[in-house]
């Protein structure tokens, strides 16, 4: 199936929003068929990486394996993660690294490759260049993320030397989410106040300028749904993985 963005007739308004606030919300960004198609594929995905930090280092585990652990081991893992969330940067959620999958040819023929090709196509990049007034955008990287009860991504600013990140994006592909479950994207102001919150939604893209402090709020332990999105960065400079 071919993937498409919806035509937008309010680009001027979106440009203005982004230029004024440093963030913008694109509602009904993809065609409904495209969003539903990607959503269905992702919802049925069985293999996820469970990610968190331990002693300052990024950890990447097979989520299904961890799920099969006994309760005590699972509890030890969450304790270890929580302990290191009190005073240092921490996160705990699931991901599929589709940018790596495509460029490193890890899963030839898989649908994930189509998403990356679609997102890195000239029409898509032009769409972002135009709204952000950022002709320097040259490519994007992306991962699929899933947040369930107890997951979180604590405050950070996305600014990494040499990555040339112009802006971050979140393509919301979450259905049937209750805002009481948390998991909102919170963008902070300079004074560490929350300036803007976006609840998980379906077929809405949130874009914000890098660097800015932001976080994905703790998902309530009683949440029964999954917060699905494709997220990544619009970058300038050369794509280091370009074929």
């Amino acid at each position: 199936m071919k993937l498409y963005f919806n035509k937008t007739d309010n680009k001027a308004k979106l440009r203005q929003d982004y230029s004024n606030n440093g963030y913008v919300k694109l509602e009904h960004a993809l065609t409904n068929e495209t969003a539903s198609f990607i959503h269905e594929k992702i919802s049925n995905q069985k293999q996820w990486n469970l990610v968190f930090k331990n002693k300052g280092l990024h950890q990447d585990s097979n989520s299904a394996d961890v799920e099969a652990w006994d309760e005590e081991n699972k509890k030890n893992l969450t304790n270890l993660i929580h302990k290191q969330a009190e005073n240092t940067f921490q996160y705990f959620y699931e991901t599929i690294p589709i940018y790596d999958i495509y460029y490193d040819k890890l899963m030839p023929g898989h649908f994930f490759n189509d998403i990356v090709k679609f997102l890195n196509s000239e029409p898509t990049l032009n769409y972002f260049r135009e709204i952000l007034d950022a002709p320097e955008i040259n490519f994007l990287d992306a991962q699929i993320t899933r947040f369930k009860a107890g997951h979180f991504l604590n405050c950070h600013n996305d600014d990494v030397d040499g990555k040339n990140r112009v802006a971050a994006f979140v393509i919301n592909l979450t259905k049937d989410w209750s805002v009481d479950w948390g998991g909102a994207l919170h963008i902070l102001s300079n004074k560490s106040e929350i300036e803007k919150s976006f609840s998980p939604s379906f077929n809405e893209i949130n874009i914000f300028k890098v660097p800015v402090d932001h976080l994905v709020g703790y998902v309530s332990p009683f949440a029964t749904g999954q917060r699905l999105s494709i997220t990544g960065w619009l970058r300038s400079g050369q794509n280091p993985k370009k074929l």
């Binding site: 479950w181 948390g182 909102a184 560490s192 976080l215 309530s220 009683f222």
Partner: protein, 230 residues
């Protein structure tokens, strides 16, 4: 009486903000004298009961009462609270109603809030002029505590303005416990991280919630909340 309210010098600004948004924050609300004592009282002297919603009823039980239940009953209790919360009807937090018998610092605070001069200021800020008194409760949110979306305007009640006065220093928004406001359709409007000695006032028709406190929050979230009533 050692608890006093600071002179508020920007009433016009606060009034404009309230009239525009139906919400406003008054920073640095209490005078320094007595403030710390009140904070320490909340942290160490107040007996909180756990308030929660179960089977359509608002219930209350102390930690000791819950601990006295068989473990399977305890587990069932939290599962039931969570199941209802998942569908949007729930809360779990520590509360202590300020009434006769409450410790002196709490009674003093409530008396200050009910003084003619304070009521006058609140009326001025909110342009709601039929306020006659305020009630109050101390609240404590520990890890896992929450309050799902609701409005405070209950038919037959005389609530006009809700207030929340924060007593937690150095809270981080990562820890949850945000006072979050929404449009009727659930779109978030504002999310306020607890701020020490900051008084939030809002119209009782505003949809709001307190987001779940993360299991890694480094401290408890204390506040005094209640309503200015007609």
């Amino acid at each position: 009486m050692t608890i006093k309210i600071n002179d508020i010098t920007n009433i016009t600004e606060l009034k404009n903000e309230f009239s525009e948004n139906d919400i406003v924050r008054v920073f640095n609300f209490l005078e320094q004298t007595g403030l710390n004592e009140l904070k320490i009282s909340l942290e160490t002297k107040v007996n909180f009961d756990n308030a929660f919603h179960l089977n359509g009823q608002n219930r209350q039980a102390s930690d000791a009462e819950i601990k006295a239940l068989p473990v399977t009953t305890q587990n069932q209790l939290y599962q039931d609270i969570h199941r209802l919360a998942a569908s949007g009807a729930g809360f779990l937090y520590g509360r202590h109603k300020i009434e006769q018998g409450s410790i002196e610092q709490l009674s003093d605070f409530l008396a200050q809030l009910n003084s003619e001069s304070t009521l006058k200021i609140i009326k001025e800020i909110t342009s709601i002029t039929d306020l006659t008194h305020a009630d109050g409760q101390a609240t404590r949110y520990r890890r896992g505590d929450f309050l799902t979306r609701h409005i405070d305007n209950i038919p037959g009640e005389t609530r006009r303005i809700a207030y929340v006065l924060g007593f937690t220093e150095g809270w981080h928004p990562d820890w949850g416990g945000l006072l979050q406001f929404f449009e009727k359709d659930g779109t978030p409007t504002r999310s306020w991280s607890p701020a020490f000695n900051s008084l939030t006032l809002f119209n009782v028709d505003k949809v709001h919630s307190v987001t779940s406190v993360a299991q890694f929050a480094a401290k408890n979230r204390y506040s005094i909340t209640g309503w200015f009533r007609a």
